[in-house]
Amino acid sequence: MNASRASTLTIRTPEGVTFALLLASPVTRFLAWAVDMACISATMSILGVAFHLLAVFDRDLARALSIVFYFAAQIGYGLICEWLWRGQTVGKRLLRLRVVDAQGLRLQFSQVVIRNLLRFVDMLPAFYLVGGLATLISSRTQRLGDLAANTIVIRSPRILQPDLEQVLAGKFNSLRSHAHLEARLRQKVSPVEASLALQAILRRDEFDPRSRAELFARLAEHFRSLVEFPPDSVEHITDEQYLRNVVDTVYRSRTAAPTVAFPSKL
């Protein structure tokens, strides 16, 4: 296992496979905490109205209940939410954060309890100063509660689903009429270059028009330099079309590609 301050925790399984977990930054965690505080305040305000009404009948009972509920909310909110939602509270859900075991194992109830009870130290002297400093110092952005519970908070950003079918299907590829040159292209293109081209195609609508034209011109120039196709196949197509043809060539076999439904949940 390896953690760097670059905010990822890399875990290598006994099978030799490596995967990385994105660590949540202190600022994102603070925002999630602020949302949680707002939720607790809102709940207590609503309950406050109920206690106010109850006080008409029994003031002592109403005050006792308000003390108990406030205490329970303070201690139990994070504890119950993180246990029932597998490491998430409302704030963490909104900001796509999750508490997980630091070794990548299943989160245990005792870990949830410890990290929530140790907030009492992390909160000292005010506004999570101790906990905040700990996250800044820690290589795995752990506050003291996380350290004791052996947990980390990770970020699961929304991953856009690449839709190869939408990008490539049904499009005429002028490079296909030169099988030997296509083979040479596949041989010469490195995985990084292929990925770059694919990402440029998938994200083409995110660029402003000028940047888009510049980007595709540079990429097309690079790929044209790798293998030279006959002019009749490439001279009437735009840089973007050329790059799409390159992606189609390197990512698909010459046999008809099966229809692919990408995993729905990433």
Binding site: T13, V17, A64, Q103, F109, L164, A257
Partner: protein, 333 residues
């Protein structure tokens, strides 16, 4: 070399979806135990997804599919390689009557250390009161420094109306929540390698010693025993047990005399910490009820002898409970 991504996804997707379904089932119900054939299938799917991830790493740099597979493998890894006991269904009575006292006994040496630290604080507080009467303004909180014990006793015994009438539930819940917060803080301060816990225990001892000596020196020992014993026989041990949890945490952080790494040491004690602090919470609920509904009544309303006897019975019951309940202590591992 670049793999045919579309073909690769088409081939792998049914297996990935099956693995995802397995994981959802396991995550939704932590008590679920897979039959042997399903366990084998689950393991096969995990290995296959791991192999696909490795293949994708080697041959193609397609980030989104890679992230999807990495998240699948990460989730499955947690399920497959988790060797800790799966959580049992929580049985409150069994937990309190068996697990809690067993856990307490397993770390009883640490408990004796908390007793020693508190007693040291008591001695310090007592001597401070005798040698420097002005120290009462520092060592006695909650207004005890404002009045001589004999004056307070006279005031309490003369009272003709119930001071807590209409306030009892509020006072009781305030005591419970306040003491629980102090206990949690005492445990949590174990993160300072135990130093914070030691200071908390010592400070509690100082307060206890200072007030006790003040009352005894003023000839109010009987009042003191009648006032403190009914709730103190639960409250003080509860704080000591919280201190026990804090020192266990501190000891795990220091890690002296063991070759295990920090994560392993903390992992080993996590369940015990939760058990101890949970038990403390239960003890403090009882202490809060007794303090509010019993301790605050004095002679002539309630004879001191009855209060002292009640407190002693409680203390004896708690001692028997902590040392005998749950049978033989389960050794770690």
């Amino acid at each position: 070399m670049i793999i045919d991504l579309a073909k690769f996804i088409a081939a792998g997707q049914p297996f990935w979806s099956e693995l995802d379904a397995f994981l959802k089932k396991l995550e939704d119900d932590p008590h679920r135990a897979l039959p042997l054939d399903q366990s084998r299938r689950f393991h096969y799917l995990y290995e296959r997804a791991a192999a696909d991830l490795a293949k994708l790493d080697t041959f193609a740099n397609e980030p989104d599919t890679r992230r999807y597979l990495a998240s699948l493998v990460a989730r499955a890894y947690g399920e497959i390689h988790e060797t800790r006991e799966k959580p049992h269904r929580f049985e409150p009575l069994h937990w309190f009557m068996v697990i809690f006292p067993q856990t307490f006994r397993r770390h009883v040496n640490v408990f004796w250390l908390t007793v020693a630290i508190t007693l040291a604080g008591c001695v310090f507080g007592g001597f401070a009161t005798i040698l420097d009467p002005e120290s009462r303004h520092v060592t006695m909180p909650f207004g005890h420094d404002q009045m001589k014990p004999s004056e307070r006793v006279a005031h309490e015994e003369k009272a003709r109306h119930d001071r807590l009438a209409g306030e009892r539930a509020t006072f009781s819940t305030f005591l419970m929540t306040h003491n629980t917060k102090v206990s949690i803080l005492t445990m949590a301060l174990g993160m300072t390698w135990g130093v914070g816990t030691v200071i908390m225990l010592f400070y509690n001892g100082v307060i206890l010693g200072a007030i006790s000596v003040d009352y005894i020196a003023d000839g109010q020992g009987k009042f003191l025993a009648g006032w403190l014993l009914p709730h103190g026989s639960f409250e003080i041990p509860a704080i000591l047990i919280a201190g026990q949890a804090g020192l266990i945490l501190g000891r795990a952080l220091i890690g002296r005399g063991t070759r295990k790494n920090l994560a392993e040491r903390l992992r080993e004690i996590s369940t015990d910490l939760v058990t101890l602090i949970g038990g403390v919470g239960v003890l403090l609920i009882w202490a809060g009820l007794v303090e509010s509904f019993f301790s605050q009544y004095h002679e002539p309303v309630m004879p001191y002898s009855a209060k002292i006897a009640f407190g002693l019975v409680e203390l004896a019951a708690l001692t028997v409970f902590l040392w005998k309940s749950g049978g033989r202590t389960k050794l770690p591992g």
